[in-house]
Amino acid sequence: MSVRPETALKAGGQPVSDAAYRQISELLFHEASLLSRHEYSTWLTLLAPDISYRMPLQTFQHRNQRRDYGKDPAWLDENYDSLKIRAEQLNNAASNSEAIPSFMRYFVTNILIEESENGFSVSSQVLLIRVRSNNPTPFFLSAQRSDLWIDSGNQLLLSDRAIHLDMPHIDSPTLAFFM
């Protein structure tokens, strides 16, 4: 919705251990590396089967004239099955959107972590730089992500991600990538 969370986490929350902070930070960096290399099959192994992956849509609004309409407008609203179909499409050379793969770089910063019941709430900021074959000018997209990573017993799995873009009107013809 239009009100953007400053952070997913409450100020003054219990800090996680240094080891946990390092483990989760490196997990996010690992994920960014997979996405920048289009390693989508491996990326899917990081996702919980019941994942909710949303990219809410925001609008420019005057402070004194605010009005929202529609229920949770979004750019993307995905589950595991739809993400898998997207991943397969992006990896298929017969599919036009990424037949010539884009160059992509993900910068993940401002990581805040809080322990939750069966895992970790993780807030991070992401800057994506993407260069498509049809447009050599780099496309920049920044966002804040609010994640829930759950402990599945032998690894942490991404169970919930909300991606709050800093761009109400997207200056690109496709969203043929993940964030």
Partner: protein
């Protein structure tokens, strides 16, 4: 010298050769032609502005464009919808710079001139004596469009006083087909939120032409995603190869229908309670057609398109129909902003509304799996036509030469129906309509 002076109506008309089925590639890249289109088309036709359900209460507004002119669509205190040029009559500052909002009246941020919701002048910030009687405030309301009209909750406006009422453009014949999408239940459709807006590196007509009925691109450009999210590969291919007519539903208004073979179960992707309402609302021929409709894409000249299809993104879930409505908002000869809304029946359950929205987001949207394939194809068109040689050549719609005399005589609906989706007839009819407006016939 303006574009109007540089390009005569005869020059413009010569760019579409209706006999040979060829079109100058300048239509996709020429900035002079673009400037002329803004004048000859977007100040003279009916232009889609938005949906009534986007501004349900008095004081609700959204900001839109008519061609390259910004406008405000607002509901006034009597519930009436107004459309005004979005700039202050004083010094031209945009009155509303947000995407949407709610106001009691409009106030210009620059010098404080204010306006009622019906656009009339309300006051100036400074006392009247300050202006010494020289300013004709009564005449300085927000600049109004000449006409506003609606069909099925869609709001259209025009700057053209001479243009006939909307029913002469979106005719009874058009409505026979469009009601299959927009008027199939007693209460009609509602919008599911504000439009997605994204930029595409293409001329504004390319998408509109594609949505008129580019049947041949579906089994090639969408060969990976198409069969995967349809009801089944077999049904997708059956619809592609089966009875899938191109229909010119009125002048400049074109549609492609992918019809399932008669032996298939009708109304794929609709819940039974909605099907019951369809049967109460539409006539027998319309019901028969809607029941067999796998995909319906259409474009209403100049830049409004709709697409509906049943899709599923999980083997464990039934297919669900989405309905996307979009405009191809002109920015320049090679840049277009796509504005994309999702609609659903007002009577549908909350669960179905949510499912229909997700189905649309996943197929035809900024993140849509179909749009991704199309967008790169269309961007590559702009790249391919950059140079002087590219502009000197023609686009081929010559398939029409072999099909123009073939008509599906007993098709159970009005308009001109070509027998399959490979004819290119509807796409070329759109370009013929462009020629009518640009070449001086309209």
């Amino acid at each position: 010298m303006t574009a109007m002076e540089r390009i005569t109506p005869t020059d413009a008309a010569s760019l579409v050769d209706t006999e040979r089925g060829t079109v100058s590639r300048r239509l996709y890249v020429d900035e002079d032609l673009f400037e002329l289109e803004m004048e000859r088309i977007f100040t003279r036709t009916w232009v889609f502005i938005g949906l009534e359900s986007e501004i349900p209460e008095p004081g609700d507004y959204v900001t839109r464009n008519m061609g390259t002119d910004p406008v405000i669509m607002v509901r006034d205190n009597d519930g009436k919808i107004g459309v005004f040029h979005n700039s202050c009559p004083h010094r031209g500052v945009m009155i509303c710079q947000a995407d949407q909002g709610h106001v009691k009246g409009f106030v210009c941020a620059y010098h404080g001139w204010s306006y009622h919701l019906d656009g009339s002048h309300a006051g100036a910030f400074h006392p009247e004596e300050f202006y010494r009687g020289g300013v004709p405030f009564d005449e300085l309301g927000l600049h109004k469009v000449a006409q506003i009209d609606t069909y099925a909750g869609l709001v259209f406006a025009t700057w053209n006083k001479e243009l006939g009422p909307l029913i002469e453009t979106i005719t009874e014949s058009s409505r026979w087909y469009l009601d299959l999408l927009l008027g199939r239940t007693p209460e009609g459709m509602e919008v599911l939120g504000p439009p997605q807006r994204w930029t595409a590196e293409q001329n504004w007509k390319i998408g509109g032409i594609n949505f008129c009925g580019d049947g041949p691109h579906a089994p090639t450009l969408h060969s990976v995603i198409g069969p995967q999210i349809g009801e089944s590969t077999e049904q997708f291919m059956a619809a592609m190869l089966g009875e899938s007519p191109d229909v010119t539903i009125s002048s400049g208004q074109n549609m492609l229908l992918n019809l399932l073979p008669g032996k298939e179960t009708p109304f794929i992707g609709y819940p039974p309670d909605l099907v019951k309402l369809f049967k109460e609302t539409l006539n027998a021929d319309q019901i028969n057609l809607l029941g067999r409709m796998m995909t319906n894409v259409c474009t209403l000249f100049p830049h409004l398109s709709l697409v509906q299809a049943p899709v599923r993104f999980s083997e464990n879930e039934p297919p669900v129909n989405f309905l996307t409505l979009r405009v191809w908002q002109p920015v320049s000869a090679t840049r277009t902003e796509v504005w994309n809304w999702f609609l659903v029946e007002k009577e549908a359950s909350e669960e179905y509304k949510e499912a229909a929205l997700k189905a649309g987001l996943r197929s035809f949207s900024a993140g849509g799996t179909f749009d991704q394939d199309d967008a790169e194809g269309w961007s590559a068109t702009s790249r391919g036509l950059q140079g002087p040689i590219g502009r000197s050549l023609n686009l081929s719609f010559q398939t029409v030469v072999g099909w123009r005399d073939e008509v599906w005589e007993d098709f159970p609906g009005p308009g001109k129906t070509s027998p399959n989706m490979y004819t290119e007839m509807t796409e070329f009819e759109y370009l013929t309509e462009w020629k009518r407006w640009m070449g001086g016939e309209k």
